[in-house]
Amino acid sequence: MEIENVVQVKVLFFARSKELAGLRETTLSLPTKINYEQLLNIIAVNFNLESIKNNILLAKNEEVCSENRDIEISESDNIAVIPPLSGG
């Protein structure tokens, strides 16, 4: 990653992921383009989420990201970790 291609995003954690990460939100430096799998790995490794990695979704700016696709990242995007839902 070259430094000019790196942006700061906000990462949000909810429910079980918030408890495992030990925080509700943080910032993370990411390249402006990243593969879904890579992003998931970076987040899992950095925030103690490897135990639930296969059960979480990622959302960018309140939209769930498609897996197996590149994700364009812009400065001040929000990336959210979405554990299995249990509303209702």
Partner: protein, 140 residues
């Protein structure tokens, strides 16, 4: 009209129902999700709900749009979800839908709760007596 709310206050069936009542509508169908007091033999003391609020409201709005496409006769839709501590017997979610004839609101309210459970980013932790709390997963 769509009435969407995430609130830490106690929910009222009457209040949510009244939002959608309309002179032109003969039917209001309502779903109330309440807290069960047991799970696999464990006594549930209370539930704790949290939401990704901005995304949840967007997602609830999108459910309303789907309802209006599927059942154009639907008049009012209200989806109220409670957050924070919810004691046993109290409502965690109330959905009310009005329509001129009953079939639309009955089908729409059923669709709304199914969609809410599978698509809206809200999470529930069950706090048990004498056992570790568990983040639930909707499976139905």
């Amino acid at each position: 009209m769509d009435y969407l709310k995430l609130t830490f206050d106690k929910l009222s069936v009457e209040e949510v129902s009244d939002l959608v009542v309309d002179d032109r509508c003969g039917a209001v169908s309502i779903f109330v999700g309440t807290t069960r007091d047991n799970f696999e033999g464990k006594k549930v003391l209370r539930l704790e709900y949290e939401a990704y609020e901005s995304m949840a409201l967007k997602s609830m709005k999108s459910i309303c749009e789907d309802v209006r496409n599927k059942w154009p006769a639907v008049h009012g839709i209200a989806i109220y979800h409670r957050l924070g501590n919810v004691p046993c017997r109290e409502a965690s979610v109330i959905i009310a839908v009005s329509s001129p004839h009953r079939r639309d609101s009955l089908d729409a309210v059923s669709f709304c709760i199914d969609q809410l459970k599978s698509n809206v980013p809200i999470w529930k932790k069950e706090i048990y007596e004498g056992a570790e709390a568990v983040w639930k997963e909707n499976v139905e």
